[in-house]
Structure formats: structure tokens, C-alpha cells
């Protein structure tokens, strides 16, 4: 067991965690942040993607103890408040980039990390950045369109 101090969605937290607990299990079971999904638990599908220090990581392959001292962003921290959505969330809705919703959290966080680094990515860049996230329902085309839509919205909101 180890004591970890971390910041989750802007809020400081201290926890005691087992050595073998993954960050995904920690977020889901200890913090009740079940929006982080587990689709394969071997780092292939990307459903569990969260952002650690601005970079997307696989929470299923990342131990909770590694998160000590880190800033973590999960799907629950993406919307600015209870009634509004962030541009990328809104674009996923408007662009019908969501079907069953299971891959959506990971897709959104990967897309957010991309847009934070590159506010105006072209299609190839989006495909390259996001190809570690698998969608089995709606296909990828609408997700690419949604990322582009969010990029446009970002551009108009921040001249």
C-alpha cells in the first residue's frame, strides 16, 4: 500500500492504494469516476484514455501509484459546468460521433489532447493521433468530422 497525492479534474486528493491497482480501477472504484471505460485492459482499445500532464495515457496500463504527484483529467472534468459542454463534447453530439457511448470518453480525451497541442489538425493528423482508440459502432468518419468541427468552433471562439 502507498499514499498518493494527485489532482483529479482540478481537485486535490489523497488516497491509499494497493501496489497493483491500475489508475483505471482507482478512478472507477475508489473515486467513483466510472466514465473511464475498460474495453480490453491491455492497452489496445483506448476506451480508458485519460489525460496525465497534458498527454493521453491508457489508464488500464498505468498504475495508480504512478499517478502520485500528477494532474489527471477524466471525462467527468471535460464539461465546464452541469449545463454546458466543452466544444469537443458538443461537436461529438452535433456530429453524431456517438452511438453506444463506450468508446466515447477515451475518444474525447484523446481528441482534447490533440486539439490542445494542435488546434487545427488536418484529417491525416487526426487519424494518426487517434488510431489508438477503437470504435466498433459508429465508425470513424463522424469522429474525424467532430474533431474538425470542434477545431472550427475553437477558432471562432478564440480569435
Amino acid at each position: 500500500m502507498k499514499v498518493i497525492n494527485l489532482v483529479i479534474n482540478g481537485k486535490s486528493t489523497t488516497s491509499i492504494v494497493g501496489d497493483r491497482m491500475t489508475l483505471a480501477d482507482y478512478l472507477r472504484d475508489e473515486q467513483g469516476l466510472t466514465g473511464t471505460r475498460l474495453g480490453c485492459e491491455q492497452g489496445v482499445c483506448g476506451a480508458c484514455t485519460v489525460i496525465v500532464r497534458k498527454r493521453p495515457v491508457r489508464a488500464c496500463l498505468y498504475l495508480a501509484v504512478q499517478a502520485d504527484g500528477q494532474e489527471i483529467e477524466t471525462i467527468e472534468g471535460l464539461a465546464p459546468n452541469a449545463t454546458e459542454l466543452s466544444p469537443i463534447q458538443d461537436a461529438f453530439r452535433q456530429g453524431h460521433a456517438v452511438q453506444c457511448g463506450f468508446c466515447t470518453s477515451g475518444m474525447l480525451l484523446t481528441a482534447k489532447a490533440l486539439l490542445d497541442e494542435n488546434p487545427n489538425p488536418d484529417e491525416d493528423t487526426i487519424r494518426d493521433w487517434m488510431h489508438g482508440n477503437i470504435c466498433r459502432c459508429v465508425g470513424y468518419q463522424q469522429i474525424i468530422e467532430a474533431v474538425q468541427l470542434a477545431a472550427e468552433q475553437n477558432a471562432t471562439e478564440t480569435p
Binding site: 471505460r37 482499445c45 453530439r93 452511438q99 453506444c100 466515447t104 487519424r127 489508438g132 465508425g139
Partner: protein
């Protein structure tokens, strides 16, 4: 029913209800269910594909701290009745049990033989490793040829020779057609096991209530109605089995019949007095889940006359059903709803053999076998075109049914409701710019590049009758399961509308569809409608989101319920307005009843609702308080099989033309898409974005089917494809952008002419992509008769294997 001109919400863009929670991470999937005191279940699984179980020792596992219970196959056998499978409906019943935990022997690698319940999943996994199971390995059977070989070991003792069914059918004058034929094309094709592989694996939570002996399941099962059958297995009356649906993270047929984990969890909950949860991990889902699709070979002949008109199709099919016969022969009977495709083929002959093997039981995968039958028919069509020197489009033009032939009865007895196939083909050829691509192909060929233009013109049947499950059982049926769907609509005392679905949601998006229909029929904004899901304790007949049926069935149920509520409001409003009920007209803009010819005399829905809920003294005689309707919509056309055919069982027929353009890398065998054009007809489009999502997602799976996905069984009975590193699902890097145009030929039998759309993309794409690759490799003279077309196989074809 509204006319096209008057439609308010049907066919309009509408952001889905479901996405509102999912983009916030607030969907509630089964793995998110947390109950006080909940235990976690881990299965102990056989490392052998076929082995006698000689002993199981649970003592060491049981002694571990945190372990609350361990059960074995023997416990399950002693404490439950057999799980219901369709094998029981065969006459005589087939002796092919589906044990929740194997007790006498393991029949595939990964079959569960024991289960542990502990306070955490990690502890349960540790304990599962301490369950000591002794095995005596037997030879595995990994394909139908091995299964039927002389002296092959038996999978089930009650199935001699491992053959469970053999049937032969002639629909129409097959012999006569073949005698008349000028040309007969023959091909052998194969289609290996694949699976839907939803990101959300199967899971359930079971909670037994000791006081009432009720069992409640939370699960991602996609058909609540089937949970009732668990009561008999568990010795609980069916009305004390309650199923609560979670959000389902994809299913694709693989969560249609999932009783085993539920039986195990129910027993463990009863033993421990606690709720227990089981969620498959990825390897369990792929290697040992109840979700694998069809697994078959075809030996087929197509008879054509001198003009290239197809007369008859006949095929022998050998299907490897794995270790049980869970869904009966549905993966073979259901596709025969559209055995002749969009073509005017007069007769169909089927010789069907079903065998057992040491693989997991076959279940459903998006299309109930329809994708592989479309593949067969389109491969035969292309082969005939090649034989006759016709282009792919010309042979189809000569054979497509014409619009004036609908409604059309096929040789197997199914009805095609409507369509305009020649128009779909012409528009697709134009959308794809096939002529332009053929020039490009020619030029590229000179540079040594292999470009291929594919074409598939396929049917997408929807709205099944449950009789498809046992059509091949050949018994004196007398029963058709019409697979109804139910919805409950309520206008509350403030005039607000709630619709309750009796089936779970895959996000496809049936909640949005239901609200759209409420809006259309009542006039309220669909965004103001609240949508809920009922649990099975109070749900009516509902088959759930399978067989591309929900849009048709749910719109029938919701519109029926809304019309009943409107009729409930009519006499109340008439009383309020002191008018004759027949003089009232519902006004969708003002949301209320108006008196004909007196526009000032009206009662709003809120006013009527207020009276209906709280002023019984104002109600006319013969009415009661409340405004609620539960309406069950039955399959619009189901008929019984008769002596010569199977009757109507899937009559709502969509259609699609897919034209992919590919480049094959002759050095690596890799396939890249240059374009992918689709003209698609699912009748009236209910929600354009949702239809597009179904199509593109389905095509994505179909491309996986065509190029990469396979559960590949090795000689020792183990499978390659047991995780996402070897079961290769298309990614962002593999999928082309799909260009789609819609053609709408409304169904005369459904709400506003809608047709199903859920399985279509995957039913058509494999045939289309194979034809494109074959076209690209045409200079090498190869004929492609199998999927997936892996780079290794493509290089083999280039090197001259399988030349014709």
C-alpha cells in the same frame, strides 16, 4: 401515419438523447453497477479444447481470505435445470446441453468449469488460480471436416457422428431450372468464425432476495424477453426473474443469448446472500463468450439461361455450430428470407448440414448469417459475369427485380415489400463515377498498380419473425413467434409526456426514435419527451434491438400508444368543451383538441391532463382517471410455413449498392481504399445521422470481415484472435470516408414507410470489398472465395495459388 409533406420530426436531423449522457461519461454500463456488499465473480476456465474433467478441488481457493464461495459444474448440475436452448424445440429434442459450468468434460478451450466469488476481482482471480482441476485431454475438433471424419471423437454423446441436423429443401423447380440452363457456374466458398467484439463485454449483476425468492439481474443483455427462460433453469417462477437493462456498449447479436454467466451469478448470490457481478474480460469475451458468428463452407451452383438470366441457385452448406445449438438453425434459416437477393431467381435449393465441434457455441453476429449468404450470392453473380463476359453491372441489370414487381414473393415464401433496385444501381454507378475509375484503373495498371472497383447489390432484410429460429426443424409448426415490441406512453397531470421502452438500448438510438415518433404523432417537441426503460417485471412482449427491427417495431408501438392516448383525451375534451367527440380535431401546433369550425373552442393537452388526473367529477361516464397506454405492435406480416415454402418471416426489405475502390499493394498484399460509394434504401429515413452512423459503422465491421477479422482455430483447439492484438478490428487508419446517397422506397407495411437499417452495412460490405480486391487482381486470374483477405492470402493469390 403522416404524409411526407406533413412530417414534422421524422426524417429531420436530431441530436440523440443517448449522446447527452455519453459525452459526459455518464452512461451506466454494467461494469459501473456498484451495490453494497457486492462480490466479484471470476471463472476458472479449461486450458484444453476437449478434455474429461476428472476432479475439481476448491478447498484451497475457499480457504483464502476474501473468498466467499466457489461453485463447480457439479454444483450447477445438482442445483439447476438445463438451460433452455433452441435444441429443445427440435422434434425430437436434440440432446445438446449447454452447461453453465462444465461438469463432465470441457468442450472448448476457455469453457468455464468453476467460478469464484470474492470481495474484489483481483482476489477472485488469485483464488481462481488455486482451484485445482484435473483433466484427461481428448482430441479437439476444430472444423467440420474433422467433426464428420470416420471415428471422430464425439462432442456430445447424444449426437452420433457429430452431425446434429441434415436437411434438404427445394424451393421452386430447382431441377427444372438446372436442366434448362445454358450456363452453370460452380464455386466453393468459405467463411470462418468472426465475432461482433463490442467494446463492452458481456456482464451481469445478480441479486437474490432471500425473503421473496426473487432474482434481479442488471445486465447488458440485448433482449430482456429471453431472461424469462432463466426462471425455469433456476427453479424460480418466471415472474420472479427481473431483468434491468444497463446501457449496452455494443452487442451486434452477441448479447442476444447469454444465460450462462447469469446462472452462475444467480447461484453465487443465493449462496452468499450478496449481490455478485461478473464482467467478461477481453480474452474471455473473444475466446469463450457466447457471441461467435457463422462458421461455414458453401458448395454452390448458379444456373443461368442464354441471356445471362439467373434461374436457380443451389448450395450445400456445412455449418460448424461449435459445442452447442443455442440459437437453433437461425443463422441458416434467417438468411433464406433473402436467398435470391434482389434478383428474380426462380428457385433455390439448399442442402444443410450442421455439425458440432470443440469451439464455443455459435450465436448471432450482425445479420444472422445474412452477410455470408449475400457474399455467396454476389460471388456467384460475379463468377457468372466473368463466365459470360458481362460487366458486373450488366449481369445485375439483367436480373434485378423491377419496381412494378413489388410486393414480391420469393421462392422461400418471404415477401419483399418495396424497392427500386435498377435506380439504386444507376445512381450508385454515377455516384461512384465507375467509368472514371475504370479509366484510372487502366492507366494505373500500365504503371504496375493494381486498382479494383467492387460492386455488390444486396438485400437487407429486417423485422424478423421468431419462427426463423426453428424453420429448419421441419416439425409440424403450428406456431410462429411474431416477435412483438411494446411501448408505454403516459401524459402526466401537467401534460408532460413520458415514453417507456420495454427493451434495452444500444444507443442505436431507440430512445431518440421513440421521442421522435411521440413528437410526430402528438406535436410536442421530441426534446420535451422523457424516455425510460422498463424492467422485465413490468415489461410486455419485446424482443429488443436485434435483426434490424427496432425502428419499425418501436415506431409501430409508440405511434399506437400515442393514438390511444389521443382517443382517451377526446371524450374528456368533448365534455370540457361541451361538444360531440367526433367534432374534435387534434391540433399538433397548439397541442390540444379544437372543435371543428369553432377555432376559439379548444382544450389544451395540459388542461385535459389536469382533468384526467385530478378532477374525476369532470370526466364523462365510462372514462377513468389517468392518461396512459401500453401498446404492443406485432410483426406486420408473419405467416406460417406451408407445404411448399416457409411463409413470410422478414418482409421489410432494405437494399444497398456498395461500390468500393481499392488499391492492392502487390509487394505487401495490403489493401487501401481509394473511395467507397453507397446508395442505400431503408425506406423512409427516420433520423439521417443515425442511419448514416449505422451504415458507416456496419461497413467498418464489414471491412474488418473482408480483410482482417478471424477467430482462427489451430490444431490444438486454441484460437488466434483471443485479444485485440490478434483479432484485428479496423482502426482510424483503415477506414475510408464513405459517401452515401439515400433512395427512399417506403414500405407499405410500416409506420411512415420506415425499414430496418442495423445490420445492413455489414451484410453488404464483405461482398463488395471482395469483389473489389478480385477486380484489382484480375490480371493474376485469381478467384476469391473466402474471407478475410489477409495480406498473406493476397500474396499467395498473386503468386498463382487459386488461379482459374
Amino acid at each position: 401515419m403522416t404524409s411526407e409533406r406533413d412530417r414534422r420530426f421524422v426524417g429531420q436531423k436530431r441530436t440523440t438523447f443517448e449522446s447527452a449522457r455519453h459525452v459526459r461519461g455518464r452512461g451506466k454500463f454494467v461494469a459501473d453497477i456498484q451495490l453494497p456488499g457486492m462480490l466479484h465473480v471470476v471463472m476458472v476456465r479449461s486450458p484444453h479444447a476437449h478434455a474429461l474433467i476428472t476432479s475439481v478441488d476448491t478447498s484451497e481457493a475457499l480457504a483464502m481470505p476474501g473468498v466467499h464461495a466457489v461453485i463447480t459444474g457439479a454444483d450447477v448440475r445438482a442445483r439447476t435445470e438445463p438451460i433452455f436452448t433452441l435444441a429443445a424445440l427440435h422434434d425430437p429434442p436434440l440432446d445438446i446441453p449447454l452447461p453453465a459450468l462444465a461438469h463432465d468434460k470441457a468442450r472448448y478451450k476457455g469453457e468455464a468449469v468453476a467460478a469464484v466469488a470474492a470481495t474484489s476481482r483481483a482476489l477472485a482471480e488469485d483464488a481462481a488460480e488455486r482451484v485445482r482441476v484435473q483433466y484427461e485431454p481428448l482430441p479437439p475438433i476444430t472444423n467440420a471436416t474433422q467433426a464428420m471424419a470416420e471415428g471422430a471423437p464425439l462432442v456430445h454423446d447424444g449426437s452420433p457422428g457429430n452431425v446434429i441436423m441434415h436437411r434438404k429443401y427445394d424451393f421452386g423447380d430447382v431441377e427444372g431450372c438446372f436442366e434448362r440452363a445454358e450456363t452453370i457456374v460452380r464455386r466453393k466458398l468459405s467463411w470462418p468464425r468472426q465475432t461482433g467484439a463490442p467494446l463492452d463485454t458481456f456482464g451481469c449483476v445478480a441479486q437474490w432476495e432471500p425473503g421473496t425468492d426473487e432474482i434481479t439481474f442488471w445486465s447488458n443483455h440485448q433482449s430482456n424477453v429471453l431472461l424469462w427462460t432463466l426462471g425455469a433453469t433456476l427453479g424460480v417462477p418466471s415472474h420472479r426473474v427481473r431483468g434491468i437493462s444497463c446501457d449496452i456498449g455494443g452487442a451486434f447479436g452477441g448479447k442476444f443469448w447469454q444465460p450462462r454467466g447469469m446462472v452462475v451469478c444467480a447461484l453465487l448470490s443465493r449462496d452468499t446472500g450478496r449481490p455478485v457481478r461478473f464482467v467478461e474480460d477481453r480474452v474471455e469475451h473473444l475466446e469463450s463468450g457466447d457471441n461467435h458468428g457463422e462458421d461455414r463452407t458453401y458448395d454452390a451452383e448458379l444456373a443461368l439461361d442464354k441471356d445471362g438470366k439467373m434461374l436457380a441457385l443451389r448450395f450445400d452448406i456445412v455449418e460448424d455450430y461449435g459445442s452447442a445449438f443455442v440459437l437453433g438453425s437461425i443463422n441458416n434459416s434467417e438468411p433464406l428470407a433473402q436467398a435470391v437477393g434482389p434478383y428474380g431467381i426462380e428457385a433455390v435449393g439448399v442442402d444443410f448440414t450442421a455439425v458440432l465441434s470443440t469451439k464455443p457455441p455459435q450465436a448471432a453476429f450482425r445479420g444472422f448469417g445474412g452477410a455470408s449468404l449475400n457474399f455467396l450470392l454476389e460471388r456467384m453473380t460475379d463468377a457468372a459475369a466473368r463466365e459470360l463476359g458481362l460487366t458486373a453491372e450488366e449481369i445485375r441489370r439483367r436480373n434485378l427485380l423491377r419496381p412494378e414487381q413489388f410486393p414480391y414473393t420469393t421462392p422461400t415464401g418471404n415477401l419483399y415489400d418495396s424497392g427500386d433496385y435498377p435506380q439504386a444501381l444507376d445512381r450508385a454507378l454515377e455516384l461512384a463515377d465507375v467509368d472514371g475509375w475504370r479509366h484510372y484503373q487502366k492507366d494505373a495498371r500500365r504503371e504496375g498498380r493494381a486498382i479494383g472497383i467492387g460492386l455488390a447489390t444486396c438485400q437487407e432484410r429486417s423485422v424478423q419473425s421468431g419462427s426463423a429460429l426453428w424453420l429448419m426443424f421441419d416439425q409440424n409448426h403450428g406456431r410462429v413467434t411474431t416477435a412483438a415490441e411494446t411501448a408505454t406512453c403516459r401524459v402526466d397531470g401537467h401534460g408532460k409526456v413520458t415514453v417507456a421502452l420495454h427493451s434495452p438500448s444500444l444507443g442505436t438510438p431507440i430512445e431518440t426514435v421513440a421521442a421522435t415518433v411521440v413528437g410526430e404523432e402528438l406535436g410536442v417537441n421530441p426534446g420535451d419527451v422523457s424516455v425510460r426503460h422498463l424492467d422485465t417485471a413490468v415489461a410486455g412482449p419485446a424482443m429488443g434491438p436485434v435483426a434490424s427491427r427496432m425502428t419499425v417495431m418501436l415506431s409501430g408501438a409508440v405511434s399506437g400508444a400515442i393514438h390511444e392516448i389521443r382517443e382517451m383525451m377526446r371524450p374528456i375534451a368533448a365534455n370540457m368543451l361541451e361538444a360531440a367527440p367526433d367534432d374534435l380535431v387534434w391540433n399538433k401546433d397548439e397541442l390540444g383538441y379544437f372543435v371543428k369550425g369553432a377555432p376559439d373552442a379548444h382544450a389544451s393537452m395540459a388542461e385535459i391532463a389536469h382533468v384526467a388526473y385530478s378532477s374525476a367529477y369532470l370526466l364523462p361516464d365510462g372514462t377513468r382517471s389517468g392518461l396512459e397506454s401500453t401498446y404492443t405492435f406485432d410483426h406486420p406480416m408473419a405467416t406460417l410455413p406451408n407445404g411448399s415454402d416457409w411463409g413470410i418471416f422478414a418482409p421489410i426489405i432494405g437494399h444497398a449498392v456498395h461500390i468500393p475502390v481499392v488499391e492492392v499493394d502487390l509487394e505487401t498484399g495490403g489493401v487501401t481504399f481509394l473511395d467507397y460509394a453507397v446508395v442505400h434504401d431503408c425506406g423512409t429515413v427516420m433520423n439521417p445521422d443515425a442511419v448514416r452512423g449505422q451504415l458507416i459503422g456496419g461497413i467498418c465491421q464489414g471491412i474488418g470481415t473482408a480483410l482482417t477479422e478471424e477467430l482462427h482455430y489451430q490444431d490444438d483447439g486454441s484460437v488466434i484472435g483471443r485479444d485485440f492484438r490478434s483479432y484485428l478490428i479496423p482502426t482510424f487508419l483503415d477506414m475510408p470516408n464513405i459517401r452515401i446517397e439515400h433512395l427512399e422506397t417506403p414500405s407499405p407495411f410500416t409506420y411512415n414507410g420506415v425499414k430496418g437499417v442495423g445490420e445492413g452495412g455489414r451484410m453488404v460490405a464483405p461482398a463488395a470489398v471482395v469483389s473489389a480486391v478480385e477486380d484489382a487482381l484480375s490480371t493474376f486470374g485469381c478467384a476469391i472465395d473466402e474471407v478475410p483477405m489477409t495480406p498473406e492470402k493476397i500474396l499467395g493469390w498473386i503468386d498463382g495459388k487459386n488461379r482459374r
